[in-house]
């Protein structure tokens, strides 16, 4: 079953202005349910832009993105936010955690939009922390964590809502080799959980991984 279908997707920043920049050109792509896909390409090639469009963080200039047979390209804010909340788990290069909060408080953040009982929230957080292997640091402030621990906290937050799609933008760029390999191990867990995972990276550690279903190269905003 096709999870994500991208049709004739274009993204132009600052259209009709002197600094107009075409980040994505006529992208057509189909991603299967449970597929692990790696977007490769140098910095500025358009990988992150493609992720932000799939995650409905920004809107395409034209073209369409269909997720679970629903177009998400032109959704109003309230619906695109609900889509991000329920369907998408983001893992960012800069982790993007709320620094003054503890690991648990960060992981709870997406659950604050639900009406789950306290018990359910506790269960979900515990499960996410265990998968991300960060349960032992659950009460620590994220400001006091190492880069690898922050990454695992970000993973726990990304999966706490049990989304079907996980988007990771340069997830190992700020990690050492050991932590990068740990992240790759967690990817295997995602595979076993049948999550659709799209990773934008130029890290060579991701080359030739046996559990990755597909590698796509992006260059100057186009799939090559």
């Amino acid at each position: 079953m096709k999870k994500i279908v991208i049709k004739n997707l274009n993204k132009i920043y600052n259209p009709n202005k002197a600094n107009e920049f075409c980040a994505l050109k006529n992208i057509n792509l189909e991603i299967e349910d449970g597929e692990i896909l790696i977007l490769k390409g140098v910095s500025g090639s358009g990988k992150s832009t493609l992720l932000s469009l799939i995650g409905a963080i920004s809107k395409p200039t034209n073209g369409d993105i269909v997720v679970n047979e629903h177009s998400i390209a032109k959704l109003p804010d309230i619906m695109s936010s609900a889509y991000r909340h329920k369907e998408i788990g983001f893992i960012f290069q800069a982790f993007n955690l709320l620094e003054g909060l503890s690991v648990t408080q960060n992981v709870i953040a997406p659950l604050s939009l639900t009406k789950m009982s306290e018990e359910e929230v506790r269960e979900k957080v515990k499960k996410a922390l265990l998968i991300a292997n960060i349960e032992h640091k659950k009460d620590q402030k994220v400001a006091h964590l190492s880069g690898g621990e922050k990454q695992r906290c970000a993973i726990a937050r990304a999966i706490v809502m049990e989304p079907n799609i996980i988007l990771a933008d340069e997830p190992t760029a700020n990690l050492d080799k050991e932590n990068s390999l740990l992240f790759i191990d967690i990817l295997k867990t995602f595979k076993s959980l049948n999550k659709t995972v799209i990773i934008a990276t130029h890290d060579i550690l991701f080359d030739n991984l046996d559990f990755v279903d597909r590698y796509i190269n992006i260059q100057d905003g186009a799939i090559v």
Binding site: T49, L101, I108, S112, K115
Partner: protein, 369 residues
């Protein structure tokens, strides 16, 4: 209506940024405290004066000559009592005595229940006299002689709003001090049974004696009201200035804070918070700050005005050189509280929410990269 999980998370974020919120909380509490104190004092004074004046005659007549107050004789009483609608007219002797050592004016009022060598003094008069060792007696200096009168009593504090600068004396003693002859009066009290006729009768008195002033009870109340409205108005202008300064300060702080908070809002948006959720989150956090600051400001103002008798502000409002130990009657007008809420909390909320909304509607993709 937001659910419990959302409220818990909003409070978690509130505590995370407690230093930023404490800044707004304390300054906003202070502004509400000042504004509430001024309005509480103004209301309490107006109430006390209205209560004091309530028992006064319907019309007070004063005469002038060469632009100065001048005494009236029995003929005035006779003529005014003949005006239709007037039930009685009473002559009254009162005036002012200059206490040169302290450069103060005392208000002399007659009281025929006192003996000729006795007087009752207001709290402020008592303090002023004691400074110059007039503890039991006081020497009134007149053109011809010194009149010595015993201080037998001090007027109770509860009457301070009107008695602070007053000395009550036997009419005969008062006349000797002021140099008034028998049958000469400084004021006439006119009683009118039908309150609807008071204005008309006051006009008739002035027609009869163009040099006289006929002041109705309503005029006196209105005069005091205007006086305190004017003083309260000055403070309201000050409040506006302080509030504007605070909002400018707040705006600068918000610009700084929101520079840092831009990423936080973008993170929340990326995990599924919609614009409405961000606004609700900020509203909730700032309402907690604004309402608690509002309640603290009101509570502090209440204690300051009604328990501590508003040191500093009291003298500005009462405008007297005498020390005044007036106790303000605790009057809390809910319209005033609502006005303070509208004038304080609403601009505060607007100043805080608008920047958050602006960030929330912006492009978040760059901020989370």
């Amino acid at each position: 209506m937001q659910n419990k999980n959302f409220i818990d998370f909003a409070i978690t974020l509130l505590f995370k940024d407690k230093a930023d919120y404490l800044f707004s909380f304390f300054i906003f509490s202070f502004i509400i405290f000042i504004l509430s104190s001024v309005l509480f004092i103004s209301d309490a004074i107006q109430f006390d004066i209205s209560q004091s004046i309530k028992d006064q005659p319907d019309i007070v007549v004063e005469n002038t000559r060469a632009g100065r107050e001048f005494h009236m004789h029995e003929g005035f009483i006779y003529d005014i009592s003949k005006i239709a609608g007037v039930s009685s007219v009473e002559g009254y002797a009162e005036g002012y005595y200059y206490f040169g050592q302290k450069r103060l004016w005392f208000h002399l009022v007659s009281d025929d229940t006192l003996k000729t060598n006795e007087m009752v003094v207001g709290q402020g008069v008592k303090v002023a006299m004691e400074e110059f060792y007039y503890k039991d007696k006081f020497n009134f200096l007149t053109e011809e002689r010194i009149i010595v009168v015993d201080i037998t009593k001090v007027a109770p504090k509860s009457t301070n709003i009107i008695s602070n600068d007053v000395i009550y004396l036997h009419p005969q003693t008062l006349r000797r001090i002021l140099g008034l002859e028998e049958g000469e009066y400084s004021k006439l009290y006119v009683f009118v049974p039908n309150k609807n006729e008071v204005g008309q009768i006051a006009l008739k008195i002035v027609e009869l004696y163009p040099s006289a002033k006929a002041i109705s009870k309503e005029d006196t109340i209105a005069e005091y009201r205007h006086l305190f409205y004017y003083k309260g108005g000055l403070f309201l202008i000050l409040y506006v200035v302080v509030m504007v300064s605070f909002l400018i300060l707040l705006k600068n702080q918000i610009s700084l804070v929101y520079g840092e908070k831009k990423k936080e809002i973008a993170i929340l948006r990326s995990i599924g918070f919609c614009i409405k959720d961000i606004i609700a989150l900020k509203c909730m956090q700032n309402l907690v700050v604004a309402i608690s600051a509002y309640l603290l400001g009101i509570a502090l103002a209440y204690v300051y005005v009604f328990c501590l008798n508003a040191p500093l502000l009291r003298n500005i409002f009462l405008g007297t050189n005498l020390s005044n130990t007036i106790s303000f009657t605790p009057i809390v007008d809910f319209n005033v509280l609502f006005l303070i809420f509208i004038a304080g909390v609403i601009p505060f909320m607007a100043f805080v929410i608008i920047p958050a909304w602006k960030i929330a509607i912006g492009d978040i993709s760059e901020a989370v990269k």
